[in-house]
Symmetry: C2
Subunit: 289 residues, 2 copies
């Protein structure tokens, strides 16, 4: 085959990917070609616009390193991450809703219950407690609870290791026999996603702000349950309705309760203001996902 | 807005990009979101497949440097480059047809007519001659003719600078008063595009070979004319009907004529076999593109 024009090229590429050994690879390749070509045929890019697209994608890949994942930011800001999350985690009874994973996860160090995971992070002390249960009723004893969050200026440890001197504001807990866990840390903050790369340029060109509402990330794994990747968002945050990555769900918005100096639930005596956050997490153990 | 599901997320993202200042940026963003989400909704990727996609795009960007452009290879092998070329260069009368630019162009050094641009490249001597005229009839006197091609093993100079010791197999000529140019070089070869990156992995997974038929690249610019980016392909090449980047057009397939030792058209006495290639290039000076 030769002599392709703007209509025949699509069928030509489709016929070329039909020899893929793996049927899933073939299906994804065919769908990619059809939708990508339909996009190009609709926008009819000039040669200069095509070159700008190549430069944008190249710069996005080159902005990535072991601490920065610009393509996840792109997926997040174009709503693709939320779409993929919705497809894979349909709402089911009282199972805790999921949201985007984000680009800042790294496997966290393990801590005992009651530990302070804040490390070198400064700010208002925050007491976080929770319990994990299965949708069928039983506590998820021994569930692995990974948590991570920003500091009060909105930065994660991995964005400023020279300042935090290592991981801080992240930890792994093992739920007790009743599915419970609790720990101390410092209150995070709303923050703009990193804007010093191609995704920041894209947001500016699209007339969008780069902010996410204040939140704490959780990833909870338990035997026989669908993994839960979610956040808890701070009630009242001004960005709840315009999260740049489309991650907010009403059921995940929780009070970040302000307390004056005094005794915390674990007996700690707080000498100044502190925050408490509590939530029950329900895992899908239906085996249907 | 919050609480997006797999159907409402698309409208949410579309409403977010509607504040783009530049109407073209807005139109491209909207089309990208619609087509990208339609692709995701059709293939319903698992979380692991989404992660594989992120890794593929990241690796594609990170494979790029000043000598390698993996995203252009991706665009080429998915037929996007040919589609964009077709949109921007509709067939028009006897105007020379265009084809893909490819990833191996660098601005070439200027040479006088009759020069040998082969440099350190070995192989069969090739005499290339051509003339450039405007579709309206007049010779394109003073046209800039950039040419580039692989060596007999299928590699470009920029892929093996340690071997070629600098640019080789590429040059810039200024067409004379009759629009003519000629030069010596070495015969190129059919070659596989670089397969040591993500695009090579993709081709293997799609069950495709990575070969391009033997060709010489041309980019020709003249005042008042649409720029011409094209190749001349070697008649009889076994890959003319399966070019991995979908670049072949019948009108660009030309005889690479084999000659025995003797006098060449410019008076040079060839001491062994040599090849000649001649073509008339017609530029669009209609002002309509």
């Amino acid at each position: 085959m030769r002599e392709f024009d703007e209509n025949s090229i699509t069928e030509a590429v489709l016929s070329r990917v039909r020899d893929a050994t793996d049927p899933r690879m073939r299906a994804i390749s065919e769908a990619l070609v059809r939708h990508l070509h339909a996009f190009i045929r609709e926008v009819r890019p000039t040669q200069a616009e095509w070159e700008a697209g190549i430069r944008f994608l190249t710069a996005t890949g080159q902005k990535c390193d072991d601490k920065r994942q610009e393509f996840i930011l792109l997926s997040d800001t174009l709503g693709v991450s939320t779409l993929v999350d919705s497809i894979n985690n349909p709402v089911s009874g009282d199972v805790t809703e999921t949201t985007v994973f984000g680009p800042f996860y790294v496997p966290p160090p393990a801590f005992d219950h009651g530990a302070d995971i804040g490390g070198a992070i400064e700010g208002t002390p925050m007491f976080v407690s929770g319990c994990v249960r299965r949708a069928s009723g039983a506590p998820a004893a021994g569930a692995t609870v990974d948590v991570w969050h920003s500091d009060e200026a909105g930065f994660y440890d991995v964005q400023q290791l020279e300042k935090t001197g290592g991981l801080a504001g992240r930890g792994r807990f093992t739920a007790d026999g009743e599915g419970r866990f609790h720990f101390w840390t410092r209150r995070p903050a709303a923050y703009p996603i990193p804007t010093d790369g191609p995704v920041g340029d894209m947001l500016a060109a699209q007339g969008r702000h780069p902010w996410r509402p204040e939140h704490v990330h959780f990833m909870i794994l338990a035997d026989g349950c669908r993994p839960l990747v979610t956040h808890l968002f701070a009630q009242g945050d001004e960005y709840l309705d315009s999260d740049v990555v489309f991650g907010v769900k009403e059921s995940l918005v929780r009070p970040f309760v302000l307390h004056q100096a005094g005794a915390a639930p674990d007996g700690t005596l707080a000498t100044g203001e502190w925050i408490s956050l509590d939530h029950e997490f329900v895992l899908d153990d239906s085996g249907q996902h």
